[in-house]
Structures are given as C-alpha cells and as structure tokens.
Symmetry: C2
Subunit: 153 residues, 2 copies
C-alpha cells in the first residue's frame, strides 16, 4: 500500500476549513463545481470533473468520519479502479493563527503513474482550498490549475 | 519506507527539461537561486534556502545518475536528519509535444509531518520547473510559492 500525503497551513480559524470540507458550497468552491450529496456520516458525496466542457468522470465518496475542527474521512466507493476502497483524510489543528491541514489519500495498491499524477493534482486542489478560505476564491474544476496538458489534467 | 511521488507534463522537448535539471542555471531558476556545485556523476550539488533574507538551511546532493533525456538521480548527503540518505529521482519521457516528469523523493523512514510538508512543497517546485521551461520564468526560493505560513514555508 502506498499513500499520498500533503500538508498546508491556512491563515484562518480551523472551523472555517472544516466548513469548506463538509458543505456542498465549500467543496464545490475548491475541489469541483460539480459536487452533489450530503456531508453526513454514512451518506454519499458525488464529485464530477470536466475538461473543455466534457465530463470525464469522478468519484463517489462515503462519509466515514466527521469530527468538527479535527477530522474528515471519506471512502471511495465509485471511481477509477485505482481509487476504489482508498480513503481520503483531512486532519486539522489550530496552530496560532493558522489552521494546519494534514491530508492523506491512503491505501493505493500500487505507485502507478496515475497515482503520481493524483499526488501533484491534490497539492493544487489543497492550494485551492487555502485560497478559498483565505481570500474567498478557490480554483475548483473546471477552473483548476493544469499540471500536465497531456490528458485529464 | 515511504515515498513522495509526483507527475507533471511540460510542453517542451525533453532535452530542455533535462537541461533545467542538470545545470546550475537551470536549477537556480526553478528550485533555489542559491545553488552551487557541478552536475556530474559523483560530484555534489549544494542547495540553500532563505526565508525573509535569512538562510534556513538546505541540502547537499551527490549526483548518482545522469542519463540524458531519461533520468536524473541524486542522493542526499547533508541536510535535515529526515532527508539523509533519501534519494531524489526525475524520470523523463517524451509524449507527443509534452515532456513527462515522474518525480520521486524516495526512502523516507517515517511519514512525518515534515514529510507531508515536503510533498506539497515539491509539487510547487515542480510547477516552478514547468513554468520555467514553458515560459522562461520559474518561482525558485526565495520567490517560491508559500504553502503554510507557519514556518519554513
């Protein structure tokens, strides 16, 4: 098993970050504008992505844990084969005037080239989360930062 | 052992990317302006970083492999304890009009919080490499993108 790990600091109260991770409005403003579902334990969130106005797929996540100001955990139940049964975690803590986010996309079976891509792309989306909370403006799909240019980017 | 993995695509000939990874001019234009040494197998490269005009440390890398248009491998011989003996690899290939970079920072003993930080920071520096090769302008330290704001960032 291999994991994607990241860390960012966001100049904000940790509650604002938790809100951006657990509401449709928040999620659609930093990850993908095409977000549906409810952020409640046991419920599903559906994230879909587009490139040049064409939907290219996405992920259905089951919400496993929601601990206000502390932790969010999702399990991937639909999506690319590589993603199925992996978990996505956000661990939060307040350090002075910054909310620290420790991110994990855990349990990849192999370090595929697609996993390398997703690692870099997650970094861009986490910077989008940081920007959203700090400035009110994120860069969710389809206005996300492109990292490769040779495919679903 | 845990690894940091990333992938980017750069709209350029792969030789231009290899050049940016193996010359002092290239390295100082996307990773850190404070780069010294020679990129020759068996020689050392010295990278130092500053925050607010104060040098905060850096890394000495031994060049282990240089395969034009294909691969660069360094070993960390001086730097933070977590980094010692880890390896940094860049595997390159041309896919149509894009040079694909598969990056690895390999052999971390533990998935520490610092490792999470370095994973995100490497993504930012790889985007700086992409920008340098595509546009002529990177974002090396000390004009790098800040990801946390609560420390050496």
């Amino acid at each position: 098993m291999v994991d994607i790990l990241h860390r960012i600091g966001i100049k904000s109260p940790v509650d604002d970050v938790f809100n951006a991770l657990t509401t449709r409005e928040g999620l659609s403003s930093w990850w993908t504008g095409n977000t549906h579902g409810k952020s409640r334990v046991g419920d599903m969130l559906k994230f879909r992505f587009s490139v040049a106005d064409v939907e290219i797929g996405g992920f259905d996540m089951k919400v496993l844990e929601l601990h206000p100001a502390k932790r969010v955990l999702w399990q991937v139940v639909e999506g690319p084969d590589d993603w199925i049964d992996t978990e996505v975690s956000f661990d939060l803590k307040q350090c002075d005037d910054h909310a620290i986010v420790l991110f994990g996309h855990l349990g990849w079976r192999e370090p595929t080239e697609f996993m390398h891509h997703c690692s870099t792309k997650w970094a861009m989306y986490l910077m989008s989360l940081k920007s959203l909370v700090e400035t009110g403006k994120g860069a969710p799909n389809p206005i996300d930062v492109h990292i490769s240019g040779d495919g679903p980017d």
